[in-house]
């Protein structure tokens, strides 16, 4: 059955620009209905990878399948089933929001309702305004509306909230979560950890053209040889941090010793490394 096949399959993908190897053998799969995040610093190979999947670039080698198509063939049918939000892209500045969305709807065989999509993007009150009067955040929402108008199964979001204020980011996250409720598959690239943590079902951390770690945001935090971190103030009141694989035993010893001395154990905390710790550890320049 077509629908049980992954939305995206990437096997040993490589991309070189002359001497530069931007992508050096990447493998991953994105299941239907999943929000998958590619996380990594600038120049990590995220954009090259995504643009190969979007059909903008040709791969040097490896196998890639998007909704069962080879995106390198630039099949019209595939483009009708995919929505793309690029990092920055202009649009007819003298047209109104409603006109642009309606015009893009005419490109697709089964578009969604124009007003409904404008509403979803939160641009209803801007419907009859020219696009050049939109703020940066509103323009990003128009980008999203244009990516959704064709009712795509798979949506590529390239750094969808870069440059947003915190309230606008929350709003955009809400919209992206609503895509999951609609059963859409989303491939998200971001360099914001909280965004990946908040939205993605699974995350791949990319650096230097390779995937360094992959898993759900919480798995990544726990796994990968990472440990529990126990912090407390010792007898002299100095902050002390111990990392351990076995927090139960350590806590028993610490609390036991404190009870024997008849003192409270001050400033005690037990934490697991966050996605951020893992990310910083993995992407640190050695």
């Amino acid at each position: 059955m077509a629908s049980t096949q992954p939305a995206i399959e990437v096997r040993d993908l490589r991309k070189s620009y002359g001497e530069l190897d931007a992508v050096r053998g990447i493998d991953f799969q994105v299941a239907r209905g999943e929000i998958y995040g590619l996380l990594g610093p600038n120049g990590a190979g995220k954009t090259s990878t995504v643009e190969i999947l979007e059909g903008y670039r040709r791969r040097s080698s490896g196998e890639v399948s998007v909704l069962g198509f080879d995106p390198g063939q630039r099949t019209r049918e595939l483009r009708a089933r995919v929505g793309i939000v690029l990092q920055s892209s202009g649009i007819y500045s003298h047209a109104t929001v409603g006109e642009v969305v309606a015009h893009f709807a005419s490109f697709y065989p089964h578009p969604r309702d124009v007003d409904e999509v404008i509403e979803l993007a939160g641009l209803s009150e801007k419907r009859d305004e020219r696009t050049r009067t939109l703020s940066g955040g509103q323009r990003r929402r128009l980008d999203l509306a244009l990516a959704l108008i064709g009712d795509p199964e798979l949506i590529f979001l390239d750094e969808p909230t870069t440059g947003f204020d915190p309230a606008a980011r929350r709003g955009a996250w809400q919209t992206i979560r609503s895509l999951r409720e609609l059963g859409k598959t989303v491939l998200l690239t971001t360099h914001y950890l909280d965004e990946a943590q908040e939205l993605a079902d699974r995350v791949a951390i990319i650096k230097g053209g390779r995937i360094l770690a992959e898993g759900s945001p919480s798995e990544l935090g726990v796994g990968g040889g990472s440990r529990y971190r126990v912090a407390y103030a010792n007898g002299d009141g100095e902050p002390t941090v111990i990392e351990t694989d076995d927090p139960t035993r350590l806590l028993h010893e610490l609390t036991g010793a404190a009870l024997e001395r008849g003192e409270p154990l001050r400033a005690l905390s037990v934490t697991r490394p966050s996605l951020e710790d893992v990310y910083l550890e993995l992407t640190a320049d050695a």
Binding site: R79, I91, Y92, H94, E99, F104, S106, F107, G150
Partner: protein
């Protein structure tokens, strides 16, 4: 295929609607040839032989500015703004999109030629085009060659900021040397040779045949047509080869 034609028509109508909406651009686009006609008509002060040179010259310049200049500008802008890349990611066929841009430019050519012919008739007593077929053949050939050359030039423009300098750096010398404002017979031999090898002088040559009486039918302008044809081929090769849907990255 019928759906592609419907899509082309939709794309064309959308481009036209937006063209008119940018009022100042639309206004000056059509005013410019009229200003030139009025200015040079006043300078030559009713000498019919001079008007016979200037009206086809300005018609030729109109063909070049509505296709070559306009497409080089627009494509540079659309590429740098990311509009081309965005369109490329939709199911709209690339040919339909670019066809819409080209038809939009050609419509402006047709309007400008009509304005020049009408103005020549009304203000300068020039008569209706003596050889309509010659006029149409040369307008079509000129539009084709200059549109392709404009697309090709857009590849050579690094950023939109550089576009006015690069485009005018080509446009202004070409219109000056090609006899838009004077009869190319009166210039030094080497300049005339250069002009005749470029596409604008042959275009004006053919347009003169179409617009002004006693310059012969299309048979007298076949060399000119051949030169335009060669430029069209050169333009087509460069336009297709260098075509890029996105701005160069730094």
């Amino acid at each position: 295929m019928p759906s592609d034609i419907a899509a082309l028509w939709r794309q064309y109508r959308f481009e036209r609607r937006l063209f008119w909406r940018n009022r100042s651009a639309a206004f000056f686009n059509f005013l410019l040839p009229l200003i030139f006609l009025a200015l040079f008509g006043a300078i030559v002060n009713g000498h019919q032989s001079e008007l016979d040179v200037i009206v086809p010259g300005i018609a030729g310049m109109s063909v070049m500015s509505t296709t070559f200049t306009a497409l080089a500008y627009n494509l540079t802008f659309l590429r740098e703004q990311g509009v081309l890349k965005r369109i490329r990611g939709t199911p709209l066929p690339s040919g339909v999109y670019l066809g819409g841009l080209a038809l939009n430019a050609v419509t402006n050519t047709a309007i400008q030629i009509a304005i020049v012919v009408l103005a020549g008739r009304v203000f300068f007593n020039l008569g209706w085009p003596s050889q309509p077929l010659t006029l149409i053949v040369f307008v079509v050939a000129g539009v084709g060659a200059f549109a392709l050359l404009g697309v090709a030039l857009s590849h050579a423009i690094p950023t939109f900021d550089a576009a006015p300098a690069v485009i005018n750096g080509v446009f202004v010398p070409v219109i000056l040397v090609s006899g838009v404002f004077f009869d190319v017979k009166h210039v030094p031999g080497f300049l005339r040779d250069i002009a005749q090898a470029l596409p604008l002088e042959p275009l004006i040559n053919g347009l003169t045949g179409g617009l002004v009486a006693d310059h012969g039918g299309i048979g007298k302008h076949l060399t000119a047509l051949a030169v335009i044809g060669i430029w069209a081929v050169v333009g087509a090769v460069l336009a297709v080869r260098g075509f890029s849907w996105e701005a160069r990255r730094n």
